[in-house]
């Protein structure tokens, strides 16, 4: 992810930075693209990968699930007490 943070790169140039087999790197790129953390861009015969900062921001926003947890908890409280009231 750090490699593509500042520039778009092809799968080959990304793979050349790792000590792993090219198909393994391709699998990782495929997964990161599926998760929308990377975006693909066709330039001629090459596919360039670049970093999707917006998606990374969404993933990194760890406050979001915490807030959702409290909202769900309070929604439940509200529902239970509304039922309790009507008894």
């Amino acid at each position: 992810m750090l490699l593509v943070a500042t520039q778009s790169m092809t799968a080959g140039s990304i793979a050349s930075n790792f000590d792993t087999a090219r198909p393994t790197v391709s699998k990782h790129l495929h997964i990161l693209t599926e998760c929308e953390l990377l975006k693909q861009e066709q330039q001629g015969r090459e596919i360039y990968y670049h970093f999707n900062a917006q998606k990374m921001k969404e993933v990194a926003d760890f406050l979001e699930p915490f807030q959702q947890m409290w909202d769900d908890r309070f929604n439940k409280l509200e529902q239970i007490m509304l039922n309790y009231k009507s008894k």
Binding site: K27, H30, I31, E34, C35, F62, L63, E64, P65, F66, Q67, Q68, M69, W70, D71, R73, F74, N75, K76, L77, E78, I80, M81, L82, Y84, K85
Partner: protein
């Protein structure tokens, strides 16, 4: 659905502020926090001990169908003033998280609406941040499971 709970965690501070307006009269909102059988229902935990009064204490737990304790927490009630305020501690047992201090302020808005303002204070900024990441970590675990599944399909 629009979220009704507002949560803020100011940078560099060891606290979390949570505010929520409920479609409930004040007395019912307060009751949800003080009556053991209601706490059990909305928190989804079993009440092991419940002595809700100034200098009282409580203990909650969640047990699976085989009787294994999945979660246990306890705390002391420092102060409880009906329909106004609860000051208490909360601590998860057998966890790395230290005890936290909670201020709960209850306020009536109109006869059918009330507000709860919570301030939770942690031992340190780092410990607050770790606590904030708990549900996030669970979400990441689900994402990892999904990645694992995708990899298995690629093989």
């Amino acid at each position: 659905m629009e979220r009704k709970t507002n949560l803020t965690a100011p940078d560099g501070k060891q606290e979390i502020l949570i505010e929520r307006i409920f479609d409930l009269p004040l007395n019912l909102l307060f009751l949800a926090y003080t009556k053991a059988e209601l706490v059990e229902q909305w928190m989804g935990n079993k009440v092991v001990k419940w002595d809700h009064k100034d200098h009282g204490s409580y203990q909650l737990e969640k047990v699976d169908e085989n009787g294994n304790v999945l979660f246990r927490a306890n705390g002391t009630i420092h102060k409880s003033t009906e329909n106004r305020i609860i000051i208490r501690t909360f601590e998860m047992e057998n966890s790395v998280f230290p005890v936290q201090l909670e201020f709960l302020e209850f306020e009536s808005i109109d006869e059918n609406t009330s507000k709860l303002a919570m301030k939770i204070i942690y031992k340190s900024v780092a410990e607050r941040d770790e606590m904030l990441k708990l549900p996030f970590a669970q979400g990441i675990q689900m994402a990892h499971n999904r990645i694992q599944k995708i990899i298995s399909n690629l093989k």
